[in-house]
Chain length 339, copies 2
DNA sequence: CTGTTAGCGCGTTCAC
DNA sequence: GTGAACGCGCTAACAG
């Protein structure tokens, strides 16, 4: 038995009031050309009068089309993610799409992602900063919707990553070229491939410069927020460096916020940057300009944009062929002198 | 004629494979108790085997229920909005909801919002930082879905705002109590009620202190990003202050990022804070702690959280009664000494 | 140019 | 405990 108690006005109500059939209303709504000016305006009037608004859900179901992009991302309000979203948004705004954001939190990321998938499939999915396990790969393939990865890679999907090794390497080489010989690195206390790569870049650069690597050069704070990429972490790590590496004259942080924290510790100790200690951060944030921080620019926004575009093309079928893996090469950007 | 070409596996496929009807599958999916253990596990097996994933769209349509919150917001990646979203997210994560974000951009905000509404109604709507016109009020009432406003108010909807007058007033009074008599204010060059209120608070505080107000005390930069609330703006404005108000010893910025820019200008001029010039920013960002900036905390996150909760309660029908207007009172937070 | 009708994929009463 | 049938609101052939 029907349960006609829905309060919302539907396409039927409009049709009745305009004295036409629902398909005509639908045509008007979708800008179909085959509608006479008269009925068209009558329908529009009825819509106006009844304050009719279509249901995006019903429309999506009928059309098998979606008007939003799904983005699964850990802590989407964190600085890096935020930057990424700017890029994604830049692409999305033009086609008039909305963003369905699933915040994965910062723990149990995989579980959250799986729950999101179970909550219902989506038309296209952008996954940021999540290492994709074998099992997750299968799960993702099962939902059969175009998927694009950012910050992690898998042969099964289009992915966008950046070359962390070269990134840190260029930063350290820069410091070396400025005459530094005792360089430390601030890392996140949380293990990850990204982190390993960055350390690798650090090692390579030292090696290239003929400086002996020692694991003591790599220091971390205590992971607090954002998996160890926070101001607090940078601050703690820098304090450690100041205590245990009095000869150190330059520091590479593995994220921008860490670098900001490090600067605070340096300032607190009565030292100056870059005259006493040079600091280079990874990632590019606007603030760095005023804080006086050199950084490694990853063009995060651009990555977001490209990834969104890729996903869009996949969804529209404009793009066929196998998954691609695009690797960005970070550029060192000198905003403040970094001797 | 049907158009059976859908590639995705539906509840029918599962039912067929498990040798049951779709309603049984549905029951299993929705944790209905009235299913025998045997058929239940058979269904689950079929689901597993077929890699079945329900369609969130179809489910929403059938249930007349939604699993996401719609948030309409201008430039959602801007610092303030970002903070707000943290609060919203904090609430939303627990109920396992997703966020449908409509980025309103920074121009044609009203048009964008209207387009979003036309794209299809939603179950509940959170609108942040948009001044609601009379006409928009009607449009919003038409869609008949619970609506909560943040940063603007309208008698028709629940709204959360903060007392900008008292906020700036407390900041200025603090400076006065520290002995400052020549105080300037950095405003956004863009006109808004918020801005007017802040200036009003500035005036009131001066008046209270027996200091004559002069509109020259209120300085703006050239609006670049974010409607004049950017580091660049603060930087420019501060330069102006240093040039034209040599006697000035304290500054109130109307946003945190402006304050950061202002600090940069001060540093560049070879002056020190707070010994030469004290700076207080509006809003609270984490960075301020390391930059050494006192600020007026608006509890932005908390507002986001409260608003999200309110909306949720409205949607669930837990909360009835007329719309409420909740006004938060900003608190001055002394993080760095600000003489 | 317009109305009829059959789905889109799922939840949900009802009988059995 | 389970199945048949209807409806959620809309789009898209097809027939007129």
């Amino acid at each position: 038995m029907p349960r006609r108690e829905s309060t919302s006005v539907t396409i039927y109500d409009v049709a009745r009031r305009a004295g036409v059939s629902i398909s005509t209303v639908s045509r008007v709504l979708n800008d179909s050309v085959d509608v006479s000016e008269r009925t068209r305006s009558e329908v529009l009037q009825a819509i106006e009068h009844l304050k009719y608004h279509p249901s995006r859900t019903a429309r999506s179901l009928a059309q098998q089309e979606y008007h939003s992009f799904a983005v699964a991302i850990p802590s989407f309000t964190a600085p890096f993610q935020n930057e990424l979203l700017k890029g994604i948004r830049a692409f999305i705004r033009e086609p008039g799409l909305d963003l369905l954001i699933c915040d994965l939190g910062s723990k149990n990321i995989e579980t959250s992602l799986r729950a999101f998938l179970d909550r219902g499939a989506v038309r296209g999915l952008l996954i940021c900063g999540v290492t994709i396990s074998e099992e997750m790969t299968r799960d993702l393939m099962d939902i059969q919707s175009p998927t694009v990865l950012i910050g992690s890679s898998s042969p099964a999907f289009d992915s966008f990553t950046w070359d962390d090794i070269k990134g840190v390497q260029s930063a350290v080489s820069h410091l070396v070229s400025k005459g530094h010989t005792y360089i430390c690195m601030i890392r996140s206390a949380v293990e990850s491939e990204t982190q390993r790569n960055r350390i690798e870049g650090f090692k390579l650069a030292l090696e290239e410069a003929g400086i002996a690597y020692n694991s003591r050069f790599v220091v971390s704070g205590n992971p607090t927020y954002h998996a160890g990429y926070s101001e607090e972490d940078g601050y703690d790590a820098m304090k450690t460096i100041l205590n245990e590496h009095s000869a150190c004259t330059a520091v590479v942080a593995s994220s921008d916020v860490q670098a900001i924290g490090a600067l605070a510790a340096i300032k607190e100790a009565g030292l100056k940057t870059p005259s006493d200690i040079a600091v280079i951060g990874y990632f590019d944030i606007k603030t760095s300009r005023f804080i006086g921080l050199s950084s490694v620019n990853q063009g995060i926004q651009q990555i977001g944009f490209s990834a969104a575009k890729k996903l869009h093309d996949r969804i529209c079928g404009t793009l066929l062929g196998p998954a691609e893996h695009i690797i960005f090469e970070p550029k060192l950007e000198i905003r403040a002198s970094s001797h």
